[in-house]
């Protein structure tokens, strides 16, 4: 439908004058929407942004009675104390290794699991497997750690199994030996999250146009060719985005599972930045120092994320923003 040229011009002029003369109108006509937004915005201000402001106690000598604003500034003293401390390298190494191993093992395993499920032609079995694989994600961490403790103890099923097939001759006290901690952490993490992580790949896989496969079959492509030429390129953007996110949290190992499983004997390999912050901050009330350690962690994470995002955008055109 062709619109006469001058009519269109007149129209656009009318629109322009309308917009410039009453600029408050779109805001006023949506006032209920802004009112609706208010509680949520307040939540973010009070529970997310206020702590960000509160993080400046890392640069202060925090005194609970004087409050955040009233406490005296000390510059980078708390950071220097942390960098010079004996714990610095140990925490950095443990934090990095723990999440690096998780990334190294769990990330590709989830992808492989999704691909294998995708190749499965028995629909019933496929949905059963999916249901079963998500299950561990819903079991509470406390229960999972309780199970880990029970399974890995000298009389537990893991030791019984290893003894039974003759791999070891004496029970191993897995949770007492520092050298086993990362294996237990990553291994149980795989059990917990493999299925759940694969959902997003399965979603991406189901988004690939089926006619591509039909065309490939007509052209004589086998299963392997279909995988390398259609499936993998099809889910590459998803894989990359997830990889960026994972790299961005490389220094963000959670305290939850570690706090439940570690003990002073395994601190050598198990203590990470967040567990250290928890012990020094919450348990020993050393607020400024542990806030500095926490802020260091947040800042590195954020920098890693920005960096990973930039690299990915430059090289593959996939990015978070």
């Amino acid at each position: 439908m062709a619109v006469p040229l001058n009519a269109a011009k007149a129209n656009s002029r009318k629109l322009r004058t309308k917009r410039s003369s009453v600029s408050l109108k779109p805001i006023m006509s949506n006032r209920y929407l802004y009112l609706m937004l208010l509680p949520t915005v307040l939540y973010f201000l009070i529970f997310e942004y206020k702590p960000m402001y509160g993080a400046i106690i890392a640069f202060k000598d925090f005194n609970p009675f004087a409050g955040v604003a009233g406490s005296p500034w000390v510059g980078f003293k708390n950071f220097e104390k942390f960098f010079e401390s004996y714990y610095f390298f140990r925490l950095l190494k443990n934090t990095f290794l723990m999440s690096f191993y998780s990334l190294l093992f769990i990330f590709p395993a989830s992808l492989a699991f999704a691909l294998l499920l995708n190749e499965l032609r028995l629909k019933k079995l496929k949905s059963f497997l999916q249901t079963v694989s998500y299950l561990p994600h819903f079991i509470s961490l406390i229960v999972i750690c309780g199970m880990i403790i029970d399974f890995t103890k000298p009389g537990g099923i893991i030791n019984s199994l290893l003894l039974g097939i003759g791999i070891i001759s004496e029970p191993i006290q897995f949770l007492i030996l520092p050298e086993w901690f990362r294996t237990i952490y990553v291994g149980s993490g795989m059990w917990q999250s493999l299925g759940w992580n694969s959902i997003i790949y399965l979603a991406a896989l189901s988004g690939i146009n089926p006619s591509l496969y039909e065309a490939a079959v007509v052209d004589g492509a086998g299963r392997w060719k279909q995988l390398t030429h259609i499936t993998l390129p099809g889910i590459l953007p998803t894989v990359l985005i997830l990889l960026i996110l994972n790299v961005g949290t490389l220094l963000n190992v959670g305290w939850d599972k570690i706090i439940l499983l570690y003990n002073p004997g395994t601190y050598v390999t198990a203590d990470v930045i967040s567990t250290f912050v928890y012990r020094r901050g919450v348990m020993e009330a050393d607020y400024s120092f542990s806030a500095a350690v926490g802020l260091f962690n947040s800042a590195i994470n954020f920098a890693l994320l920005v960096l990973a995002n930039r690299i990915s955008r430059k090289t593959t055109e996939n990015s978070l923003w």
Binding site: P26, N30, Y34, V41, F113, M147, A204
Partner: protein
């Protein structure tokens, strides 16, 4: 469509099926083992005799757990946190997501950026902890309900869903004179049942399983959620406390099966509702698959 499969393909398919069945065994067996042990005789557990079926069937452990007042109080508390917490979550997430899904809202991308930023940067544990203390929420139930009342990720999922509702529907309701609250309640929410189900599930499971904030913010044992009591029994091994007036030998004997029974009692509600909601949360993860 029947495609003739070549021999290597048949071999691959069979290996794949076998491997995946083995995987599902690995996913299920730990839970099965716990279930079987909870019904077994404690001697058999200690001797490592349990593998696939209960040995010396008994329900004594369950009896002891059900007689324990701590468990009941904690169960009740957890229900309070799950119901009240999820309600707050849903209200705030909806109120945030709906306006941000309207394309004609001035400044929405700015507000969105303000929310998304919190997913990537935070003040850290200590400032958050001090914030809760300053607000006077320490050692109250509110400490488990208000912090974390909105998840930025869930808000994005919900907003994405709302955006898929045709604008014309909302516009016509507006012309009919409905204001925004009414449109949300009468038109948008009824169309959004799938995403509401997903959010309910995500948030409720989160509350059911949460323990860390209870551990750092609560002193009063009467407010403890179930997971914190579980932690005492499973991680700190204080199952013995349940057994006042029993001989030492007996204590050791029973405390093992008590652990398994409490695991089952604390996990069953989640596992029972889970199969019914599964199709919804898969959808939820898919909607949330990192869309703008």
């Amino acid at each position: 469509m029947v495609i003739k499969r070549s021999i290597p393909e048949i071999i691959f398919d069979s290996c794949n099926v076998l491997f995946l069945i083995f995987c599902s065994f690995l996913f299920l067996y730990p839970m099965w083992y716990v279930l079987v042990s909870s019904f077994s005789d404690a001697h058999a557990i200690a001797a490592g005799e349990i593998s696939f079926w209960p040995k010396g069937f008994n329900v004594g452990a369950y009896k002891l757990v059900f007689e324990d007042q701590r468990i009941w109080t904690a169960y009740g508390n957890t229900f309070i946190y799950v119901i009240a917490g999820t309600f707050i979550n849903l209200v705030l997430t909806t109120l945030g997501a709906y306006p941000l899904s309207r394309r004609n809202l001035e400044g929405r991308s700015l507000i969105m950026a303000f929310i998304v930023f919190t997913m990537f940067f935070s003040g850290g544990l200590i400032p958050a902890y001090l914030n809760v203390r300053e607000l006077g929420l320490y050692d109250t139930r509110w400490a488990l309900l208000l912090p974390g009342a909105v998840s930025a990720f869930n808000l994005i999922v919900m907003r994405t869903f709302f955006q898929s509702i045709p604008d014309s529907l909302i516009e016509s309701a507006k012309i009919d004179g409905a204001h925004d609250f009414r449109i949300l309640l009468r038109i948008v929410l009824p169309l959004s049942m799938p995403v509401l189900a997903v959010m309910t599930l995500f948030y409720a499971v989160g509350h059911w399983n949460s323990w860390f904030s209870a551990m750092i913010y609560l002193q009063d044992r009467n407010l403890f959620p179930l997971q914190l009591i579980l932690r005492e029994i499973l991680i700190q091994s204080s199952a013995q406390n349940m057994l006042a007036g029993v001989t030492q030998d007996e204590v050791f004997r029973i405390s093992e099966s008590i652990k398994f029974a409490t695991i089952i009692i604390a996990t069953v509600p989640i596992l029972l509702i889970y199969p019914f909601l599964q199709k919804y949360f898969v959808k939820g993860v898919m909607i949330g698959a990192l869309k703008e």
